[in-house]
């Protein structure tokens, strides 16, 4: 199996994970999670490599990877904004928050800014409903957001990167 025109990833980074899990039944999702931790997303050549080592078809691996929202097939920005779209956040105005982010960064759901700094991802409930609307940036949670506070948070992160 090969992949002629895709991204060239350093596949050796995956060796340790594959050694540990390839013979454990049912560990495909764990392997995909580890691969995403290493590469930041799931490049096509990594999908092929996992399929080959785990004795699965690339279609099976891709089928599993595309089923779950956690997996990405494009690189993400340095700051991954996960905007909660749960019921409580919806009732308390997550739409306005999304609009503020879109205006501030010029990106919509699942897009990355041109400078590679920010990616916006709408997600199902983050489980911080009492502080809705909520977003998470790289595992840090921000609650009780307003369009103004969200703009401030993003400006601060931009400032930090200057």
């Amino acid at each position: 199996m090969s992949c002629s025109d895709c991204h060239k990833s350093d596949l050796s980074l995956l060796n340790e994970t594959l050694e540990k899990y390839k013979n454990i039944k049912g560990s495909l999702i764990t392997v995909l999670q580890k691969a995403q931790e290493i590469y930041g997303f799931l490049p096509t050549d990594v999908i092929y490599k996992i399929a080959e080592e785990m004795n699965l078809t690339p279609a099976k691996v891709m089928g599993v990877a595309t089923f779950y929202t956690q997996f990405r097939f494009k690189p993400v920005g340095k700051y991954l904004i996960m905007l909660c779209q749960g019921t409580a956040c919806h009732v308390n105005g997550s739409e306005r928050i999304e609009k503020a982010i879109t205006e501030e960064l010029g990106i919509s759901d699942s897009e990355t800014t041109e400078d590679g700094l920010f990616t916006l991802k709408n997600v199902a409930c983050l489980g911080c409903c009492s502080l809705s609307p909520v977003m998470m940036i790289n595992e840090k949670t921000y609650g009780s957001l307003t369009p103004e506070t969200v703009r401030e948070i993003l400006k601060e992160l931009k400032e930090r990167e200057k």
Binding site: G26, T30, V91, V123, A124, C125, C128, S130
Partner: protein, 581 residues
């Protein structure tokens, strides 16, 4: 004295991490400072408790890092007048005193990262009792007496599932905890794992002993990173103390324990889909029967319960099933945890005995609607549930009585809505969710929910047609009959209940092109009231489409052709001159 900072996810989001660091920097004796999980009073976070021994001296709320110095001085001088302004009010204290806590009994009290804190508060005593003096059949009998039913939504008797798995043939059996808390608006399982992971572990070990499993697996949502970290530590500590592993507490019972992180799919809350996912496949539900008790994980007998169910188990073993079943109604025993959110004054986790009314929870404990707005409905059971209107607020909390309204108990999410929430838009929100989360296996669910979403979308955009309501009803019934799993069968519930209780809103969207709650932007018209307008031009400066024009100090007006109904003019106007109809 001890200073304890509440560090659950909600606390962190409100700034507990900064408060903790500020206290740590200022304090000389670091052993005075410790952490606890989530007490469930999310509306007051960050919370700092001051204890003398086991006695709570002060509970300080909405603390910021700037308060750290005063807190330390107060503790040093044993004089709390400095922090009087932070002390919890009597009214807010009632949020806790009106509850009965079993599943949440340790949450916000013990340190979730300390196994000693747990064992000092009767932790692992139930496991010891089970292993030294009870047979697996005795355990199942005690759970049967308690009347405990699955807290994840279905409300199926726990003992029955345990008994079925116990009686299934085979040596290799699995005990699985469903911690894939996917219902938007429910977060009690996250709180239990983050705040009291050992209670979950102990409940699961007792379950494993009862059914004869040697392996226990917790399937946790990937969106709960803190829960995973705390649970990993708890498992490691329990292994070191001999509560997990071979020959537990010197008995013949052995059980290993592991965590499997989910990868984001709502349908994996369905037990057979969860099993598919555990096996590394797409999480698509299986046909039942065979039930997991006969052929589950790797087609071996398996039992799956949710976090809150397990969190009750060790309490029942220690206090007896009778004490548990003494609470509640004929049909539903014990307590239930609710996640109270939305437009509620005091939002958080509420654990009460079954048999209380919705009004008790929302008004007596939750304090009613934020900003004194009018209550409109409470959404229960997430995307599988429904919206309950004001006239049914005295409905008793009980599996059967709640189902009779068209909603369900579900996992306990209660999202409260005021008169500014549009019920058609709410139904659309849930259908948008189920359309995205449908696994695609059954035609009715995959395509039917999509068609419903299209109809709801056009209604909210003012393009609804005669016959749309009937078409929605027909699709609802078709999907209920035609879907294989709970996700599909219950996906129409939000539409059915809003049609049942709020049909007038659908009718006014379709016939009069009006949104009574003034939420659906396409149906709104913005205008300026010439009597109130002072001609300050602020609105026209804010307008992104230059739809507002006029002369300074004279009346301005809005060109409805250009207006995109973004609402920025209304937000900007200081004179209340912008009307929305």
């Amino acid at each position: 004295m001890r200073i304890v900072v509440g560090k659950g996810s909600c606390g962190f989001a409100a700034g507990a991490g900064r408060v903790y660091s500020a206290l740590e920097n200022l304090i000389d004796d670091k052993s005075v400072l410790s952490i606890t999980g989530c007490i469930g009073m999310c509306f007051l976070e960050p919370i700092v408790d001051i204890y003398e021994g086991e006695k709570l001296l002060r509970r300080l709320v909405k603390v910021t890092e700037n308060d750290a110095e005063n807190i330390i001085i107060a503790v040093k001088n044993n004089d709390f007048s400095l922090v009087d302004n932070l002390t919890i009010s009597e009214k807010d204290e009632e949020f806790l005193t009106k509850q009965t806590r079993i599943a949440l009994r340790h949450c916000g009290i013990i340190n979730p990262e300390s196994i000693d804190d747990y064992t000092n508060d009767n932790g692992y005593k139930a496991l010891r009792k089970v292993l030294t003096s009870m047979s697996p059949e005795d355990v199942i009998e005690e759970i049967k007496i308690s009347g405990l039913a699955g807290r994840g939504g279905a409300g199926f008797p726990t003992w029955f599932k345990w008994n079925a798995a116990r009686n299934s043939k085979g040596d290799e059996k699995y005990l699985i905890c469903n911690a894939d808390e996917g219902d938007p608006g429910a977060f009690m399982d996250r709180a239990v794992i983050e705040s009291d992971p050992h209670t979950l572990i102990e409940g699961m070990l007792i379950g494993a002993y009862a059914i004869g499993a040697k392996e226990a697996v917790v399937y946790v949502r990937a969106e709960y990173p803190l829960a995973i970290i705390r649970l990993e530590k708890a498992i490691k500590d329990a292994e070191e103390k001999g509560f997990i592993g071979k020959n537990i507490l010197g008995s013949a019972f052995s059980c290993s324990f592991r965590i499997k992180a989910g990868a984001g799919a709502f349908v994996c809350g369905e037990e057979t889909a969860l099993i598919e996912s555990l096996e590394g496949s797409r999480g698509m539900p299986r046909l039942k029967p065979p039930f997991p008790a006969e052929a589950g994980y790797w087609h071996k007998p398996s039992n799956i319960n949710n976090v809150e169910t397990f969190a009750n188990v060790s309490w029942i073993i220690l206090n007896g099933g009778k004490k548990f079943s003494a609470m509640g109604t004929e049909d539903s025993k014990g307590t239930k945890v609710f996640a109270l959110t939305g437009k509620i004054r005091r939002g958080g986790l509420v654990e009460i005995p079954m048999g209380k009314t919705l009004r008790d929870v929302i008004f007596d404990i939750g304090g009613g609607i934020k900003n004194d707005a009018k209550f409109k409905a409470v959404q229960m059971g997430g995307p599988s549930g429904g919206c309950i209107p004001e006239e049914l607020l005295d409905t008793v909390i009980d599996y059967k009585k709640l189902s009779a309204t068209g909603a369900i108990m579900g996992s306990g999410g209660m999202v409260v809505m005021s008169d500014s929430t549009c019920m058609v838009n709410m139904a659309k929100f849930f259908l948008d969710f189920t359309t995205k989360e449908s696994c695609g296996k059954c035609v009715h669910c995959r395509i039917g929910t999509k068609r419903m979403l299209e109809i709801l979308t056009r209604i909210t955009e003012g393009k609804g047609k005669d016959g749309d309501i009937e078409l929605l009803e027909e699709l609802c019934l078709g999907i209920k009959d035609g879907a294989l799993c709970g996700l599909g069968q219950t996906a129409p519930n939000p539409v059915l209940t809003t049609l049942k209780y709020f049909k007038d809103e659908y009718v006014s969207h379709i016939n009069e092109k009006k949104c009574l709650a003034k939420e659906c932007a396409s149906l709104l018209t913005y205008s300026i009231n010439p009597e109130k307008c002072v001609g300050c031009s602020l609105c026209s400066k804010k307008c992104p489409t230059q739809a507002i024009s006029g002369e300074i100090k004279k009346t301005f007006s809005i060109d409805t052709e250009k207006c995109i109904k973004c609402g920025q003019c209304k937000a900007a106007c200081r004179f209340g001159a912008v009307n929305v109809d």
